[in-house]
């Protein structure tokens, strides 16, 4: 029965978002950001703090592009979208608290 169940759907795909141009554009953005990330590491004369900040921002932008466009979060309902994004922000918030704590204690 399960085999039949898998095979026989006639599915309404009219509401499904498919945009190949968008997918290739996101791929291009991810590629450029990766090249920039690697390039930043080899640039001399930038402080470590600045490098870490720039790399973190670029990584978060790349992760957001994958989540929103490849995983189609931008086409989900607000509750699903924020139900995914908010829990994922908790570790970053915790990291920020730890970094702030370390800065205060070292000052």
């Amino acid at each position: 029965m399960s085999q039949d169940h898998d095979q026989a759907h006639i599915t309404d795909t009219s509401r499904v978002h498919v945009d190949r141009k968008e997918y290739w554009f996101i791929f291009l953005m991810l590629f450029i950001l990766t090249v920039l990330e690697v390039g930043v590491v080899f640039v001399e004369g930038i402080s470590k703090g600045h490098i870490v900040a720039v790399l973190t921002i670029m990584a978060l932008v790349k992760a957001a592009l994958v989540g929103l466009f490849f995983m189609h979060l931008n086409h989900e309902t607000k509750i699903v979208r924020w139900g995914v994004i908010l829990p994922l922000m908790v570790p970053f918030f915790y990291a920020a608290v730890l970094i702030a704590d370390a800065i205060v204690r070292l000052a």
């Binding site: 759907h9 006639i10 599915t11 791929f27 990330e37 490849f70 995983m71 509750i79 570790p91």
Partner: protein
């Protein structure tokens, strides 16, 4: 006959369950299927595991007086260019995954299988790359005997231990994701997802994109941040 009416006819004749996208939209989750929501919940719990590892790594690294070179002969860096290649590979496989999804939505079985095979190839090559990075499995191509040979030994320093823990945990995800893709590809080839029945491919895609997303963070925090 509309797709809805036709599906209802199938339901009546063959006792099929109603296809996931033909339930009325939920006020909170729209037309997301149960499987898709379940996959998101699993991915969130998985993300917390990775977050725990990365935070532990950050705390150990941030609190260390010296991070690199605490063990004699330990390599100073991990080989950023090689790993950037692996990152590019995963990004490519993410694109091929969405192309497989797009082909499935359009009901093109042949294209779906082709793009899934490309995605599987990406996963296999990534695993080969990781084997090369650890063990120098493909030394005859890359002329490098691997990080273990270079002196980065699990358990000998926090740097080595966190590196192997996080990257191998990610590698396990790539391995299981590749197996998942192989099964989905076989089922697609057998015609299980014809007629725009894209739900399983979308769920598999969510897992694969998650693997890519995690690698983006691992690549930045483990490989790129300078000593």
């Amino acid at each position: 006959m509309s797709a809805h009416a036709e599906a209802g006819h199938h339901d009546h004749d063959h006792h099929y369950e109603r296809p996931f996208d033909q339930w009325p939209d939920d006020a909170h989750t729209g037309h997301a299927s149960m499987g898709k929501l379940g996959m998101w919940i699993f991915l969130l719990s998985d993300a917390m595991t990775f977050a725990g590892f990365l935070l532990a790594y950050g705390i150990l690294r941030g609190g260390a007086d010296q991070w690199v070179g605490t063990v004699i002969n330990e390599p100073q860096e991990f080989g950023i260019n090689f790993t950037a290649g692996l990152t590019f590979l995963l990004i490519c496989s993410s694109v091929s995954m969405v192309m497989a999804y797009a082909a499935c939505v359009e009901g093109n079985r042949k294209r779906t299988v082709q793009w899934l095979l490309v995605t599987i190839l990406g996963g296999v090559l990534f695993l080969c790359g990781q084997a090369q990075e650890y063990f120098g499995t493909f030394e005859f191509i890359f002329h490098h005997k691997g990080l273990i040979h270079d002196g980065l030994i699990f358990g000998e320093s926090h740097r080595a231990t966190t590196f192997y823990l996080i990257t191998s945990f990610h590698g396990m995800h790539v391995f299981s994701g590749t197996l998942y893709l192989i099964i989905i590809c076989y089922r697609t080839w057998k015609g299980k997802y014809d007629g725009g029945n894209y739900n399983h491919i979308e769920m598999c895609g969510l897992f694969w994109h998650f693997v890519d997303l995690i690698w983006i963070l691992v690549f930045t925090f483990i490989y790129l941040i300078p000593a």
